[in-house]
Symmetry: D3
Subunit: 133 residues, 6 copies
Amino acid sequence: MHSSSTLKGVSRYALGAQTLNTLHANQVENLESTFKDISPDLARLVIEYGFSDIFSRSALDSKHREMATIAALTAMGTATPQLKFHIKAALHIGVSQIEIREIMILMSVYCGFPAAINGTLALKGVINESDVK
Amino acid sequence: MHSSSTLKGVSRYALGAQTLNTLHANQVENLESTFKDISPDLARLVIEYGFSDIFSRSALDSKHREMATIAALTAMGTATPQLKFHIKAALHIGVSQIEIREIMILMSVYCGFPAAINGTLALKGVINESDVK
Amino acid sequence: MHSSSTLKGVSRYALGAQTLNTLHANQVENLESTFKDISPDLARLVIEYGFSDIFSRSALDSKHREMATIAALTAMGTATPQLKFHIKAALHIGVSQIEIREIMILMSVYCGFPAAINGTLALKGVINESDVK
Amino acid sequence: MHSSSTLKGVSRYALGAQTLNTLHANQVENLESTFKDISPDLARLVIEYGFSDIFSRSALDSKHREMATIAALTAMGTATPQLKFHIKAALHIGVSQIEIREIMILMSVYCGFPAAINGTLALKGVINESDVK
Amino acid sequence: MHSSSTLKGVSRYALGAQTLNTLHANQVENLESTFKDISPDLARLVIEYGFSDIFSRSALDSKHREMATIAALTAMGTATPQLKFHIKAALHIGVSQIEIREIMILMSVYCGFPAAINGTLALKGVINESDVK
Amino acid sequence: MHSSSTLKGVSRYALGAQTLNTLHANQVENLESTFKDISPDLARLVIEYGFSDIFSRSALDSKHREMATIAALTAMGTATPQLKFHIKAALHIGVSQIEIREIMILMSVYCGFPAAINGTLALKGVINESDVK
C-alpha cells in the first residue's frame, strides 16, 4: 500500500500501526481497507502523524490523551465516528465509563447541552454495540 | 447582587464561588464586577451551574476536568479569554505546563494546526503575563 | 432517578419537568428513559438548568425564546435532533411554520445556504412526521 | 461604485441601502467606504442580498429578525463585529437591552457559557460606546 | 413556483438555473421539488444568489470555484449533502478525483484528520454511487 | 532546537523549512523564534507535517493548494493569523488579489456574509501592510 515509502516512512508507519492496534484490535486493517481505493495516503498519514509522531510522545499519559481527545471531539460535534472510536479506545485503555460520562456533562458548560447530549448518545451507542457482542 | 435568590440559590452560589476562588483568586469578584451592570444573572448562573452544579461533582478529578476543558476550548477556537482562564486554573491546581503544551500538540491531530498554534499562543500569553508579575 | 437530590433540587426539577412537558408531551419521560442507564444526571441537569433555571425566566417571551433557539441551532449545524425538537416545540406554542421558514431563509445571510437548507429540511422532516400521525 | 449594475441591480441596491440606513445611520456609506478599494462587489452583494432580498421580506417582523440574528451570531462566535452591529440595530428598532441580555443567557443552554459570556461582553461594549457619545 | 417574481427576478433565476443544470443534470428540478411545499423561496434564492449572482462571476474559473467550495465544506463539517453535491459537480466540470483527494489530505493540516477523513468518505460515497449507475 | 531528531526527522524538517521559506521569507525563523520557549516541537511538527509531508505532494499545484487553504480558513473563521499568512503566501506564488477577493465572495454562499466580510478584511489588512513597506 505505501510502497513508495522510504525506510524512514516505514518505521514511522510501523510504530503508528502498533500503537493503533493497541488502542483497538484490527483498526489498522480497517483503516487500510476503508481507504485503499480512494486515498491510501490519508490512511498512512493518520498512522504516521497521528498514531506515531503524536501518540508516541510520552509527556501526556495515554489516559489523559484519550480524555482530552474525547472532550475535543464532543466540543466539535462534527466527528461522531471519530468520537465513537476514541470512546472505545479510552474504555480499552482504562478510562472508566463514568469518567467519559462526566466529560460529556462537563462539556455542557463549555459547548452547551446539545453537544453534551450528542456525546452521551455516542457513548451509549458504543456501550450498546459492545453489549451485543 | 442576587438578592432575589432564595435560600437554595444562595447555597449553590456560595459553593460555586468558593470553588471558583480556589481555581483563581479574586475571580468571583472579577466576574461579579464585569457583569454587574449588564447581566448579573449570567455571572450568577456561571457560578451556580458551572462552578457549583458541575465542578462539585467528584467523578472526574479536578486535573482531568481542567485538561478536558482546555482541549475543548482549544478545539472550539472561539473562546480565547475562557481558554486563558482555564490554562491559569490548570497550572494553579497542578497540571504542568508540559501537559498543557502536549494537549495543544495533540489538538493538531483533531482540529488542525491553526487551533494548536492559537492554543499554544494562549498558553504563552498566560506564562508571559505571570512572569511579569 | 435523582434520589440524591435534596429538596431544592426536586423543586427545580419539578418546575423544569412541567415546562418541558408543556413544550412537548411526554418529553420528560423520553429524556429520562433515554439517559437512565447511561447518564441520568445529564437528563436531570437539562431539566434543572435548561428548562427550569432558564426557561422559567420571564424577560423573554416563550415565542421569542424558541425563535432565538431555532436560529442558534440552525447556525450551529451540529444539533439536528435538538433543532427538530425545538421546531416541534415552537409550532406547539404558536410560532407559525412561515416564521420558522423565514428564520431559515434569514440564516442564509449569516451562516450560508447549507445551514439554511439543512435547517429547512429539518422543518420539513418535522412537518412530514406530524402529517403521518 | 456599482456602475456595471443594470437597472434591476440598482433597484435592489436602492431598497437594501434604504433598509440598512434605517437600521443604522450612515452604515451604507461606512460599508461602501470600507470595501471600495478591496471588494466593492461584496459591499454591493451584502446590500442587495442581505438587506434587500432578505430584509424586505415581511413574514418575519424586524424585531424577530434581529433577535434571531443576534442568537445565531452569538452561537457562531466568529463574527463579533457583525454581532455588535446587529445589537446596535436591534436596540435601534426597539428590541430592549433586557431582551438581548436574555438571548445571551439562553445561549448558555445551547452553545455553552463562553458564547453567552462573549455575547454579553459584545452587548456591554455597544452600551458603553453609546454612553460615551 | 416563483410566480411573484418580477421580470428581473426571472432573469436572474433563468441564468442561475442554467448554470446549476450545467453542474449537475436535473438539479434545478430536484431543488424545486424538494422545497416546493416547505420553502419555495429558499430554492429560488439558492438559484438567484448562489448560482446566478455568484456563479456567473468570471474572475474565478469554475474549476477553482469548485475546489475552494470543496475545501470550505470539508472544513465546516456540517454540510455533507452539499459537499457531495459539489464533489459531483467538480468531477463533472473536470476537477480530477486525485485533486479532490488531495484537497482532503490538505485539510488535515488546517482542520484536523476527522474533517479530512469524513471529506474523503464523502468522495468515496460519490464515486461508489456513480459506479453503481 | 530539534536536537533529538534522527536523521530522517532532519530531512523532513529541511524539506519543510525550504518550502516554508519559499512561501514567505524568514518564516521558519519567525516560527522557531515564536515557539522556542513554549513549544519548539509544535513548530517542528508544523514544518515536518504541514510544509514537508503535505506541501511536498505534487498532485495539487501550489496555487490550487493556497486557494483551497484560503477558502477553508475563511470558512472556519477562527484562524485569522493563519489566514493572513496564507493570503500573503498566495499572493507571493501568483494567486491574484482578484482571485482571493472572489474566493471571499464565494464563501458568502457557503458560510454567510460575516465570514466573507471578515475574510475580505484580512485580505485588506495584508494589502495595507505590504503597501506600508
